[in-house]
């Protein structure tokens, strides 16, 4: 591989040190700059990715041996619940948000998102929800690790740590870690079967949902309204398309889980029985008319689109990366956009495939089996279009490209096992077994996470102004690739051998030992690969190689400004006449290919609009666009003259803090009101304070001058 990853030569200006007032803590707390918010999303998400990974490692160590007792069954149940919840809601979703925030406004040539302060509110509310969800886990983790060390010591006869471990496990709150699984099937979440840990889970997710909704509306308005002149919908970069579609998915999917969670809280504290078929009244079992299956329907109407919420952003990312490193435009651009929309749309019609073993009856089973199979079609088109993009190209294997191709290759495995699960009778064997665990890790790790790593390597120079080390990057990729397959491929075998998920341990007569050992070794190697990545980050922070504006010879607008971009992104809002504006400017007209738009129109079988043949007017417009792009060189010596950006604001943070206190107050007060019946002492002081803060913040926010 002689010609790998040589960044474009270009004038690289070593950035000057910025003033403390621009980079201090206060500036980060009050920032409403979409780029900084994106960075914060990414940093928090990566922290939770590591935390969720740590939880997974304990799970894998526990399963390394039959009848193992590294952690108690209770702790094990807490660990898999928090691993799933953390990875989905606190790692993958905010990582997608990080990229949406940072990249999308740049790609559409905007100065920021439509509602910058709402954007900051989304970020801090996400953090509030994450805190609520993880508060018991944070309190419980020391006890868990002391318990593990103590267990090891006791096996060699040292008991001195037992008392400390018991003390740590007894810290108030340490026994409140959610333990009902990430999809919280009723009636395990009911008061009869669980304690207050469910409240932390439910309120945490409700808070996170608020953050996601606010962010999604923001992105939709931004994409619809703030595109630069000339950027028609069908000239938008495919990642921007993804941002739009995923945001729409979120605002349609989240209400289902929001309602479901509120009903859970009602069931627990208001005396309703939406999800409980039975209740215990004075020691007698009575039927209530509620139905646990209602929860499953509501949850998966959210939960299945959620899968696409997690994986489509990664698809969007690699749809940017593969063309750039193949030096070819994306194959079948419009079809790719439609396929994304089709997956999103069909995603709402397949939820019951999570419920094939609940006894829905043959007709629903067959119908949902068919609808699930349908999703394979647009997904297959995407896979083959990515391959066709590389076909005939001139491929550079940067780390970003390796991860992107890795996604294309590995997602195929997850996709194919997904089709197997649409075959209902086969699913009755695979459902809730390790075959499913293997399947969705191929989708969410081999898919989403590979895509996010690809995006990190790809946009890192734009975000930080520094290039990551490519040698370490390649080591990171290959280690991740090998370790990932070593961990999750054997889980197919475990599933076929009948190992159910969520088993704290298994008997020696089960025949599951071998592949569990292999998977555990693989998981430890995944942990190692994360360390390689962190090493890469710290190394290139200490000894930076500064990045030029467009190190990869990419085509989209984010590469038309400096690395990192100035707060206002573009000194002059660019005008585009082409889907790949920077390539058009650099390589000229032959990049512009008008026939292909016709293909898109007919292929989709619907009218998109009038297709214009290339004419004099467009050529003229095109020339102007090239000039506009060239103008941004001037922006490098910027001082921001004439660009009005909104002021930093403290109110979004204050509002989120208010929400945090309202939620926390509800949780704490609920426990008080349980213990101090009568209610007089259960006045929700904390919630009241939070409410006042939220009101004050929104008031201040509303009357704050914009700039």
């Amino acid at each position: 591989m002689a010609s790998v990853a040589i960044p474009q030569t270009g004038t690289v200006v070593v950035p000057e040190r910025k003033k403390a007032s621009d980079t201090g803590l206060w500036s980060w707390l009050t920032t409403i700059d979409h780029k900084r918010i994106g960075i914060l999303y990414g940093a928090f998400a990566f922290f939770f990715f590591l935390l969720g990974g740590l939880e997974a490692l304990v799970i894998r160590v526990q399963l390394m041996h039959p009848d193992n007792a590294v952690v108690s069954p209770q702790k094990y149940n807490e660990l898999f619940t928090m691993h799933g919840t953390t990875m989905i809601f606190l790692a993958l979703m905010p990582l997608a948000s990080a990229f949406f925030n940072y990249v999308m406004p740049l790609q559409i040539g905007a100065r920021d998102v439509a509602f910058p302060r709402l954007n900051a509110f989304s970020l801090w509310t996400f953090l509030a929800g994450a805190l609520i969800l993880n508060l018991p886990m944070i309190v419980s983790l020391p006890g868990t690790f002391l318990e593990i060390v103590d267990g090891a010591l006791r096996s060699v006869g040292i008991t001195s740590l037992t008392a400390v471990a018991n003390w740590a496990n007894g810290i108030p709150g340490a026994n409140l870690v959610p333990d009902q699984g990430w999809y919280g099937y009723a009636p395990l979440t009911g008061l009869l079967f669980s304690g207050q840990q469910i409240d932390f889970w439910a309120v945490g997710l409700l808070t996170l949902g608020t953050a996601s909704l606010a962010a999604s509306f923001n992105f939709i308005v931004t994409v619809i309204n703030l595109r630069c002149p000339g950027m028609t919908m069908l000239r938008m970069p495919i990642f921007t398309w993804t941002t739009l579609i995923v945001s729409v998915l979120l605002i349609m999917a989240l209400p289902a889980i929001t309602i479901a969670l509120i009903l859970v809280v009602f069931d627990r504290y208001v005396g309703t029985h939406f999800f409980a078929a039975y209740n215990l009244v004075e020691g007698t079992l009575v039927t209530t008319g509620g139905d646990p299956l209602l929860w499953q329907h509501l949850f998966w109407i959210f939960g299945h689109p959620e899968v696409y919420i997690l994986v489509l952003p990664a698809f969007g990312i690699i749809s940017e990366i593969i063309p750039v490193f193949s030096r070819k435009p994306l194959f079948g651009y419009a079809v790719m956009a439609y396929a994304t929309a089709a997956i999103a749309f069909l995603g709402f019609g397949v939820w019951a495939h999570h419920m094939f073993t609940t006894g829905l009856g043959p007709t629903p089973d067959a119908v949902f089996g068919a609808s699930t199979m349908l999703i394979a079609i647009p997904t297959g088109v995407k896979i083959l279009n990515w391959t066709a993009t590389m076909w005939g190209g001139s491929i550079r294997f940067t780390t970003a490209m390796l991860f992107a191709v890795g996604l294309v290759s590995q997602f195929v495995i997850g996709g194919l096992s997904g089709v197997m699960h649409a075959v209902v009778p086969v699913d009755t064997q695979h459902n809730d077994s390790y075959f499913v665990i293997a399947h969705f890790h191929y989708v969410l790790f081999g898919g989403s996470m590979f895509g996010f790593f690809a995006g990190l390597y790809y946009w890192w120079p734009k975000i930080t102004g520094r290039l990551l080390d490519e040698k370490l990057g390649r080591a990171h990729f290959w280690l991740t690739f090998a370790a990932f397959n070593l961990t999750f491929f054997p889980m197919h075998f475990l599933g076929l051998a009948g190992m159910p998920r969520r088993y704290a341990t298994y008997g020696p007569d089960s025949g599951w030992w071998l592949w569990n050992v292999v998977a555990t070794v693989g998981a430890l190697l995944i942990g190692l690969s994360a360390l390689v990545f962190l090493h890469n980050v710290t190394k290139t922070m200490r000894k930076p190689r500064f990045a030029p504006d467009n190190p990869w010879d990419a085509a989209t607008l984010e590469w038309a400004t400096s690395s990192p971009p100035p707060p206002y992104n573009f000194r002059e809002i660019p005008t585009v006449t082409n889907r790949d504006p920077l390539w058009a400017a650099k390589y000229g007209d032959h990049m512009d290919h008008h026939e292909e738009r016709e293909i898109d129109v007919h292929f989709a079988g619907r009218e998109i609009g009038t297709v214009q043949a290339p004419d004099e007017a467009e050529h003229e417009q095109h020339a102007r666009a090239s000039a506009a792009v060239a103008v941004r060189e001037a922006a490098a010596e910027e001082d921001g003259h004439g660009v009005h950006m909104p002021n930093p604001s403290f109110y979004p943070l204050l509002a989120s803090l208010g929400l945090l206190l309202i939620s926390l107050g509800a949780l704490l007060d609920l426990s008080w009101s349980i213990h101090l019946v009568g209610g007089l002492l259960a006045i929700p002081y904390i919630s009241l304070l939070g409410g006042l803060m939220l009101f004050g913040a929104v008031y201040g926010w509303a009357f704050e001058p914009a700039s």
Partner: protein, 403 residues
């Protein structure tokens, strides 16, 4: 070895020059690994295997699985080959600008239609099997009621009375082991009144959930003799992993003998000082609130779907306990020593268990624990337990006619 030594050097040296080759071999390695895994699945001792079917129903599922597996493998190889070929063939060699292709109407239509055709090929037999299995429920004639508990299974034979002379005595009830006569066309009535469980005997059938407020029916025809391992497949709380059971398919004569033995009061005289052999030992007094033993005075515990889900007054029926392979739903091998362990360390060995530990509570002492263990192990047929069956099944001998 080159580079600057150490793990990092090794990683770099490994990653750099072989990136392409490793990618080329990746699918090959995956196929090899897959084959290995399938072999391991068939060859090893895997009593929960989903790919060693022992009923016609499980065969249908296996056939569908094989169909999708080979189709998936073909698609997998084709797509990986295309990816690998593309990344090797079209690697950058010089600074040329490739032909700027934006798409191809024909190709994209082709690879929209191709998967649709493949999926149709899969869907038609899928739908056929779904309806075939659903329709089979109506013709099954051997009924077994299963109530999922936290964390064990109550097994009731509603058509087999506990006492032929006394209809009020109710049906035959056992726990954690489903005994079936060879050839029975069984329909399981799956219910629960606590949380959701899932009834799964991989070699005999796919799984089906037990959902509060729902009555789910599962059918298969028991055509192979043997012990088949079953397990709970839906997370149901602390001891989800210890909710195992067995389906034992035995010759009809053995089944009849088992029913007869079940109806016969225990022969072991637990209280020699009293004339009544049907009386459980005095130490059983704390147990009989929850546990019934047929033919004895232990008969007040509640059973069925209306019983209290929290175990108070509704524990497993212990009739013929001495013949069960395990106690506590697969947690411990059924020996006298383990029964003692169970009685003394109930809550330590099974997380969240509803059965109180009367030993630490001081209500039974060591002597009584020993007495109880001896008594429980004595609950066997007069002629001893039936001979052990092979795990995973054997095809019924030709001499045994399969109805």
């Amino acid at each position: 070895m080159r580079g600057d030594g150490g793990v990092r050097g090794w990683l770099q040296a490994w990653a750099r020059p072989r990136a392409g080759r490793a990618r080329r071999f990746a699918p090959l390695a995956a196929v090899a690994l897959l084959t290995l895994g399938v072999l391991a699945g068939c060859g090893g001792n895997q009593p929960y295997s989903t790919i060693a079917p022992q009923t016609a129903k499980a065969d249908d599922i296996q056939w569908l699985y094989a169909l999708t597996f080979w189709l998936a493998l073909a698609v997998f190889i084709a797509v990986q080959a295309a990816i690998v070929y593309a990344v090797i063939r079209f690697r950058r060699t010089d600074d040329h600008l490739p032909v700027q292709v934006h798409g191809s109407k024909r190709l994209e239509i082709a690879w929209t239609i191709a998967p649709a055709v493949i999926l149709l090929l899969v869907f038609i037999p899928t739908a056929q099997v779904i309806y075939k299995h659903a329709n089979a429920i109506g013709t099954a004639d051997f009924r077994v009621d299963v109530v999922g508990k936290q964390w064990w299974w109550e097994i009731t034979y509603p058509d087999i009375p506990a006492n032929e002379a006394d209809a009020a005595a109710g049906p035959l009830i056992t726990a954690n082991e489903v005994i079936l006569p060879l050839g029975a066309d069984v329909v399981f009535d799956l219910q629960t009144n606590n949380v959701i469980h899932s009834f799964w005997v991989p070699q005999l059938s796919g799984k089906l959930d037990l959902i509060p407020g729902h009555e789910n029916l599962m059918e298969f025809k028991a055509t192979t003799l043997g012990d088949f391992y079953g397990e709970c497949a839906e997370y149901c709380g602390a001891s989800h992993a210890w909710m195992r059971f067995k389906v034992k398919v035995v010759p009809q004569a053995d089944f009849d003998a088992w029913v007869k033995a079940w109806r016969t009061p225990p022969a072991f005289d637990a209280n020699p000082e009293t004339p009544d052999v049907a009386e459980a030992p005095k130490s059983f007094g704390v147990c009989l609130v929850c546990h019934n033993i047929n033919g004895t005075n232990a008969k007040i515990a509640k059973t069925g779907i209306t019983s209290n889900p929290f175990g108070i007054g509704a524990g497993p029926n212990l009739t013929l306990l001495g013949c069960r392979d395990t106690i506590a739903a697969g947690l411990l091998v059924n020996t006298e020593a383990n029964v003692e362990t169970w009685l003394k360390h109930t809550d330590e060995v099974k997380a969240g268990v509803y059965m109180p530990n009367y030993y630490t509570a001081g209500q039974i002492d060591d002597a009584k624990v020993t007495e109880l263990a001896k008594y429980l192990e004595s609950l066997k047929p007069a002629g001893g337990c039936p001979a052990a069956q092979p795990v995973g099944g054997v095809i019924a001998p030709a001499a045994t006619p399969v109805p």
